[in-house]
């Protein structure tokens, strides 16, 4: 058999324009999230009921909402909930999924059966519906939503980790480690994990985008953050009625959601391609 593969050569290191834009945008969002009070022109909470909803003016660059609050400041402040929650969801879900996937994929047998039955069950559920109902009934707002999403995301992530493990498991370098008598624990964490980690990281970025969209969605239904919190999804919930007077109240947070999610999706895709060569 002469189907000998060439040793991998160095990859093109050029970041194309759209990727650079993604990283720039994420940088902007992160900066807004951290330094929001310093950057925002006004407090996001100050209500000016006598002013009400007005289109953009010299004083309020993006106009005001129904309660007279500055839309731009609320958008800038909203960057924090747009980042913190999704990061915790993505990282949390994958941390759990990695353990479950490693055990399920490598040990097989009843461990695998039990875990995969649970995964199959979770995947059969209409996830968004479950999130809406559970968060709505239990109450608790943002952090309940985060917890529910972590549980919901763990299932498909476990499947992803498991199939990555299953790809590595029959390879001869694992066989060699086994025949040398290397412990199962060592094989899982020193041999298999480092080889699936890059793939996992790419998926974490994609999960982040998906979590952002879902959290914003829950807030959009009034089920996420507490009323009054500056949050992009919440702003969509609050500003539905000012569509005709100050559409920016909707378009600005909506645009930020899309752009942030797009950036993380593209970054995730790029990581995915770079790491599966």
């Amino acid at each position: 058999m002469t189907a000998v593969t060439e040793p991998a050569r160095g990859r093109k290191r050029s970041l194309n324009l759209s990727l650079a834009l993604c990283f720039t945008l994420m940088a902007v969002v992160i900066v807004c999230a951290i330094f929001r009070s310093s950057i925002a022109p006004d407090s996001p909470f100050t209500q000016r009921l006598e002013v009400g909803d007005k289109p953009p003016s010299a004083e309020f660059v993006a106009g005001t909402d129904l309660l007279g609050r500055d839309v731009l400041s609320r958008t800038i402040h909203g960057a924090r909930t747009a980042l913190v929650g999704p990061i915790i969801v993505a990282a949390g879900a994958f941390a759990i999924a990695t353990i479950l996937g490693l055990l399920s994929g490598y040990l097989g047998g009843w461990v695998d059966t039990v875990i995969m039955r649970w995964v199959d069950f979770m995947l059969a559920l209409p996830g968004i519906l479950v999130a809406i109902v559970v968060v709505g009934v239990i109450g608790g707002g943002y952090w309940t939503a985060v917890a529910v999403l972590i549980i919901l995301f763990t299932a498909p992530d476990t499947r992803i980790v498991r199939s990555a493990v299953l790809e590595q498991r029959p390879l001869p370098y694992i066989d060699a480690a086994r025949s040398l008598g290397i412990s199962k624990r060592r094989i899982l964490f020193i041999h298999i994990l480092p080889n699936i980690l890059p793939l996992v990281l790419a998926y974490v970025a994609l999960d982040f985008a998906f979590a952002l969209v879902n959290l914003a969605g829950l807030s959009f239904l009034g089920l996420g953050v507490e009323p009054g919190t500056p949050d992009w999804g919440r702003m969509l919930f609050e500003n539905r009625n000012i569509l005709f007077t100050n559409p920016l109240g909707l378009l600005l947070p909506a645009g930020m959601i899309i752009l942030t999610a797009v950036s993380m999706n593209l970054i995730g895709d790029w990581l995915f391609e770079r790491l599966t060569k």
Binding site: S18, F220, L223, P247, N265
Partner: protein
């Protein structure tokens, strides 16, 4: 001999779906109990009551019985078609669902049609024009689609086509006639389709690109078969299998987006009913809608599973040594 195998597989799939439905119904039933506070309060809502009414209610809903008995009695009721009564307005839950179901179904069908036709079509075009500007545009469109949840897309569509251009109505489902209904549902269906379509485009494109590189395409070309035949009998047929596998995700996504879209466009459908119920803590109504939605999802996934089993001959036939 082949028929038995297929029927057996279908039965096995159904057998798996049934315990799933039971588990879901259990979860739905348990909602009453996981709501913070006294279950009676959850059932009553905000209406004040004296201890005697409370006790009557407890008797009526069997709240003094052990959990399993309560579940059994509730399940029996459900299987007979009685989903309880809504807290607000005391209407039968089933009636509320039935009258709104048609809108959700119409919206979903329209959305699915757009998703399938354009999703697969655009995916195919992107795969054939791999690497060109058209392909890159499709990919970018795909990424934006996946990143824009239906409520966000809905808002943009609403603004540009409803407010600025005034081409479409911005709320309601249109009751006058079929065309009016269609006109009202166009923007919502589009919003619904766009976010899900992006996934279909991405998967179709990836599947077709993978197939285009395969040996059997080279062999088919080497034998001089026409491009049409190769595209459809070889590439598309093989690429459709991963697409259909992903159909399950697509359906769930469609359903979730339907909920958001109905809220955005103020459509009186099942989705907005559910959200309303959740916001108002109307437990029996929540239970009813969640159960109906879940059954629907499980049924669709089952159908997709069966379709997948039928079209992939590798599952139907075993390997035979010659």
């Amino acid at each position: 001999m082949m028929r038995e195998g297929v029927a057996g597989l279908i039965l096995r799939r159904i057998a798996v779906a049934i315990p799933l439905l039971f588990l879901i119904s259990l979860g739905v039933f348990a909602l009453v109990h996981i709501a913070p506070g006294d279950p009676v309060r959850a059932l009553l809502g905000t209406r004040a009551s004296d201890p005697e009414t409370l006790n009557n209610l407890r008797e009526k809903y069997h709240l003094n019985d052990p959990f399993i008995v309560q579940y059994g009695k509730w399940l029996w009721q459900v299987l007979q078609g009685d989903l309880g009564r809504s807290i607000n307005g005391n209407r039968k839950v089933w009636n509320a669902i039935a009258e709104r179901g048609s809108i959700t179904i119409a919206l979903s069908l329209l959305g699915t049609a757009i998703v399938l036709v354009f999703g697969i079509g655009l995916g195919m075009i992107a795969a054939f024009k791999r690497g060109t500007r058209i392909d890159r545009a499709m990919v970018m469109f795909g990424v934006f689609g996946i990143s824009s949840p239906a409520f966000v897309t809905g808002i943009f569509l609403l603004y540009f086509f409803g407010v600025v251009l005034g081409w479409f109505p911005t709320f309601g489902a249109g009751d006058r006639n079929f065309v009016d209904r269609l006109w009202h549902l166009t923007l919502p269906a589009l919003a619904l389709a766009l976010s899900v379509m992006a996934i279909v485009v991405k998967i179709t494109r990836a599947a077709m690109i993978e197939e285009l590189d395969k040996d059997y395409v080279t062999f088919a070309r080497a034998r001089g078969l026409s491009a049409t035949r190769i595209t459809f009998a070889y590439v598309l047929r093989n690429a459709l299998i991963p697409v259909i596998t992903a159909a399950g995700i697509v359906v769930v996504g469609l359903l979730a987006s339907a909920i958001y879209v109905e809220v955005t466009f103020a459509l009186p459908g099942l989705g907005s009913l559910t959200v309303d119920a959740v916001q108002k803590r109307d437990i029996p109504l929540i239970q009813g809608t969640t159960l109906v939605f879940s059954c629907f999802v499980v049924a669709i996934n089952l159908i997709i599973d069966v379709v997948y089993t039928l079209i992939d001959p590798r599952i139907r036939f075993g390997k035979v040594e010659s």
